[in-house]
C-alpha cells in the first residue's frame, strides 16, 4: 500500500502574549490510503491542530506534510482551496451547516463552488441525503433538524464530491450514545465500501473500536500507535 500522507517532524507553536504553546511537538506519522485512523487524546492535546495542518488549513511552524509525495506545507493557499474542494471532506463536532440553507442546499454547496450545474448537483445531493436516511428532510433548515440529522447532512456534504480523505473532528461530540453509534456505523461503512481514507479525532475511547488504527496523543506528541484487529 502506498502511503497517502507522510508527516515528518511536524511542529506547531502558538504565541499567546509572552507564552509559547506547543500544540504539536515533532510529530511523525504515516497514513495509508483507505485506512480509518483514529486520533485519540484528551482535550487540548493537539488533535484538532494536527488535523488542520494536515488539511492545509493551518501552517506548520516546522516540519512537512506530504500528500502522495507532494508537500502541502509549501502549497499556496489558493491552490490548497481547490485541493480541499476536489479531494477532501470535513465533518465537525458542531456540524457547521449554513443556517440559511436547506439540507439539500448545504450538501450541494461544495458542488456550487466546483461549478457543477444546478440540476446535477441537486440530483447528487438528494441521492446522498437519501443514502443518509434523510429522504424526508431535504428541504429542512438545520434548525429544524435534530443533532443526529444535522450531522448526517454534514456527512453527506463531506462525501458529495467523492473525496479521497475525510477529516472528522469529534463528529459525535454533541450526540447521545445511540446517535453516536448510528453515525459511526455510517462512517465506518463508508470507509469499508468506498476506499476513502478517514482521519477521525476524538477523546472518546469507545469510538476507537471503529478504526483500523488508533494513535494516542498527549501534549502534542504521539505516544502510541495501536493497530486495531477487527474482523469484517
Amino acid at each position: 500500500m502506498a502511503s497517502l500522507i507522510e508527516i515528518k517532524g511536524l511542529t506547531k507553536k502558538y504565541r499567546l502574549g509572552q507564552e509559547v504553546i506547543t500544540a504539536l511537538d515533532n510529530v511523525d506519522l504515516t497514513i495509508e490510503e483507505g485506512e480509518f485512523l483514529c486520533i485519540l487524546g484528551t482535550s487540548g492535546s493537539g488533535k484538532s491542530t494536527l488535523l488542520h495542518v494536515i488539511a492545509g488549513l493551518e501552517l506548520a511552524t516546522k516540519g512537512e506534510v506530504l500528500l502522495k509525495g507532494v508537500s502541502i506545507t509549501k502549497m499556496k493557499e489558493r491552490k490548497m482551496a481547490t485541493f480541499r474542494r476536489k479531494h477532501m471532506g470535513f465533518i465537525f463536532q458542531s456540524y457547521n451547516l449554513l443556517s440559511s440553507l436547506t439540507a439539500i442546499e448545504n450538501v450541494a454547496l461544495p458542488l456550487v463552488f466546483d461549478r457543477v450545474n444546478k440540476k446535477e448537483r441537486l440530483k447528487r445531493s438528494r441521492e446522498m441525503l437519501i443514502q443518509m436516511g434523510l429522504k424526508d428532510r431535504l428541504r429542512n433548515k438545520p434548525t429544524e433538524m435534530s443533532g443526529g440529522q444535522q450531522q448526517r447532512v454534514s456527512i453527506a456534504r463531506a462525501l458529495i464530491n467523492n473525496p479521497k480523505i475525510i477529516f472528522a473532528d469529534e463528529p459525535t461530540g454533541n450526540l447521545d450514545s445511540k446517535t453516536t453509534q448510528e453515525i459511526m456505523e455510517i462512517l465506518s461503512e463508508k470507509v469499508r465500501n468506498s476506499g476513502v481514507t478517514m482521519i477521525m479525532v476524538t477523546h472518546d475511547l469507545n469510538l476507537a473500536e471503529y478504526a483500523d488504527r488508533v494513535i494516542k496523543m498527549i501534549d502534542g506528541r504521539i505516544t502510541s500507535i495501536v493497530p486495531n484487529k477487527k474482523v469484517g
Binding site: G89, F90, Q93, S100, L109, P110
Partner: protein
C-alpha cells in the same frame, strides 16, 4: 461559483436580514433619489431656458447685418463687408451653412379693410422661406414665383385698428399696458395696401397691394410682429422710393416725415444698424440657416472673422449653458453627499454582516470556496443593495419629478395658463441609466473593504471557537 449561483446566494443572504437590508437599501434609495431629482432640476431648468430662447429665435438662424464688426476694445475688425450677392455666395460656402437668403426691411403705414396700422415688412427669397425655420399655422409660407403676397406673424394684427378702436385708444382706455388679444386668423386672405412715398419727392406716392396667404406659428417670438413678402416686391418698392436719389451719406435711413393723420403715410426704412455703405443696392441683412445648433456659434464666429456683423440667439446659449451646468453641479453635489452617506451605510452593513457570518465564511472556505468566491459574494451582496436602492430610488425620482412639475404648474405659476408644458424637472434616459449604473457601482465600491476582510478571515479562527 458561477454567476447565477452567486446572485442566488447573495439574494438569500440579504433576505436573511430583511430589516437591515431594507434600511441600507433605503439609504441608497434616498441618495439616488436626491441625486437624480437634483440633476433633473438642473437639466429641466436648462431645457426650459433653451426652449424660451428658441421661442425668441431659432438656434439655427443667424442674422448678418450691415455694418462693421468691432472687437472688445472698440477697434474695427477688417473691412466692412457689403451685403450683396457676392456676400451671399461667400457665406453659402461656409461649412455648416445650409441656406442663405437676402432680406430687406421696411416699415410702413398700411390699410386692411377698415383698419389702419403699421406694417413691419421683411422681404426675403420666397422659395427659401420653408427652409428658414418658418412654419405656417394657417395658410402657407411664401413660395418661389410668389408676387404681392404676405405671410404675417401672429401679432401683426395688433398693429391694425379701426376707427372706434382708435378713438378708444385716444381716450386712454386701451393703453399698451392692456393688450387686446386679437385673432390673427382675421388677417387670412385679407388685402393689405401699403402706401409708399418717394424719398426725394414726398408728393410722389404709390400704393402697393398684398394678399395675406399665410400666418406664422409662434405667438410671441422673433417673427411675430413681422410680415414677410417676396424679395422682388420689396425691391420694386425700394426702387420707387429711391428714384432720383443722389448719393447720400444716410441713404439707408429715411428720416421720419410728417405727422400721422388720416391719409398721410409715412415710410421709414429701418436699418438694423447704421449703414455706412454707399451702395444702395445692398441688402439690409442676410438670413443664414445652419445645419444644426451645434454649428451655429461656430458659423457665427467664422462670419465675424470674415468681417460680417452677425448675430444669433445661439451666441447667448453658451453663457446660459454654463449657468445651467453650474446649477447642475451644485445640485448634483448635494445629491452626491447623500449618496456618499448611503455608501458608508452599505460598508457598515457589510462589515456587520461579516461579523455575524464569520463562522459561515470559515466553513465555506474549509469546504472549498475559492478566494474569488468569497470576494465576489460580498461584492455581489453590496452591489445588490446598491442596485435595489437605485431601482427604487429611480422609481421614487420619477414620482418626485412628476410631483414637482405638477406643483410648479399649478401653484407656482399661479394657475396662469402656460403656452407650453413646463417641466422644470426632467429625467432623460441617460440620467436614469446613469443612476442605476452609479448606484450599483457605489454598492460595489462600498463593498470592497468588507469583501477584502472576508477573504482575509482565517477559516480556523472561524471554526475553532465552538
Amino acid at each position: 461559483m458561477n454567476k447565477l449561483d452567486l446572485l442566488r446566494l447573495a439574494r438569500q443572504n440579504l433576505w436573511r436580514r430583511k430589516m437591515r437590508t431594507f434600511l441600507t437599501v433605503l439609504g441608497v434609495l434616498i441618495g439616488t433619489t436626491s441625486i437624480v431629482v437634483m440633476l433633473s432640476l438642473g437639466i429641466g431648468l436648462g431645457e426650459e431656458q433653451r426652449k424660451s430662447m428658441e421661442q425668441w429665435g431659432s438656434l439655427t438662424m443667424i442674422e448678418v447685418n450691415r455694418g462693421m464688426v468691432f472687437d472688445e476694445k472698440g477697434e474695427p475688425v477688417g473691412e466692412a463687408k457689403e451685403l450683396n450677392d457676392e456676400a451671399v455666395e461667400e457665406i453659402k460656402e461656409i461649412p455648416g451653412v445650409t441656406v442663405v437668403s437676402p432680406a430687406y426691411n421696411l416699415h410702413g403705414e398700411a390699410r386692411m379693410g377698415r383698419k389702419e396700422g403699421g406694417l413691419q415688412l421683411v422681404g426675403l427669397a420666397p422659395e427659401l422661406m420653408d427652409q428658414l425655420e418658418f412654419k405656417a399655422s394657417e395658410g402657407r409660407l411664401l413660395q418661389g414665383g410668389d408676387r404681392n403676397v404676405l405671410v404675417v406673424g401672429q401679432r401683426v394684427i395688433d398693429n391694425f385698428w379701426d376707427e372706434s378702436e382708435r378713438r378708444a385708444m385716444a381716450r386712454g382706455m386701451r393703453g399698451p399696458g392692456r393688450r387686446e388679444e386679437k385673432d390673427p386668423s382675421e388677417m387670412m386672405e385679407q388685402r393689405i395696401a401699403l402706401t409708399v412715398h418717394n424719398n426725394n419727392n414726398y408728393e410722389k406716392k404709390r400704393k402697393f397691394n398684398f394678399t395675406v396667404v399665410g400666418i406664422l406659428e409662434g405667438e410671441y417670438g422673433q417673427h411675430s410682429w413681422q410680415a414677410y413678402a417676396p424679395l422682388e416686391d420689396l425691391q420694386r418698392i425700394r426702387k420707387f422710393m429711391l428714384e432720383g436719389a443722389k448719393s447720400r451719406s444716410d441713404d439707408g435711413n429715411f428720416s421720419q416725415g410728417g405727422v400721422m393723420t388720416g391719409g398721410t403715410v409715412r415710410v421709414e426704412r429701418v436699418g438694423r444698424s447704421r449703414s455706412n455703405s454707399r451702395d444702395t443696392d445692398n441688402y439690409d441683412y442676410l438670413l443664414v440657416r445652419t445645419a444644426g445648433i451645434e454649428h451655429t456659434s461656430q458659423v457665427s464666429e467664422v462670419l465675424r472673422d470674415k468681417g460680417y456683423n452677425s448675430w444669433s440667439m445661439a451666441d447667448n446659449l453658451e453663457g446660459f449653458e454654463k449657468t445651467s451646468r453650474t446649477i447642475q453641479a451644485v445640485l448634483g453635489g448635494i445629491g452626491a453627499i447623500t449618496l456618499l452617506v448611503a455608501a458608508i451605510g452599505i460598508t457598515n452593513t457589510m462589515i456587520m454582516s461579516i461579523y455575524e457570518r464569520t463562522k459561515e465564511i470559515g466553513v465555506m472556505k474549509v469546504i472549498g470556496a475559492a478566494f474569488s468566491d468569497i470576494y465576489s459574494l460580498f461584492l455581489t451582496e453590496a452591489g445588490m443593495i446598491g442596485f435595489l436602492g437605485g431601482v427604487f430610488g429611480l422609481g421614487l425620482s420619477y414620482g418626485a419629478s412628476h410631483l414637482i412639475n405638477h406643483l410648479v404648474r399649478n401653484y407656482i405659476s399661479g394657475g396662469m395658463p402656460m403656452e407650453e408644458v413646463v417641466n422644470i424637472s426632467l429625467i432623460p434616459p441617460w440620467l436614469a441609466l446613469f443612476a442605476l449604473v452609479f448606484s450599483i457601482l457605489i454598492g460595489v465600491v462600498a463593498g470592497l473593504y468588507p469583501a477584502h476582510r472576508a477573504v482575509r478571515l482565517s477559516p480556523i479562527k472561524a471554526i475553532r471557537n465552538e
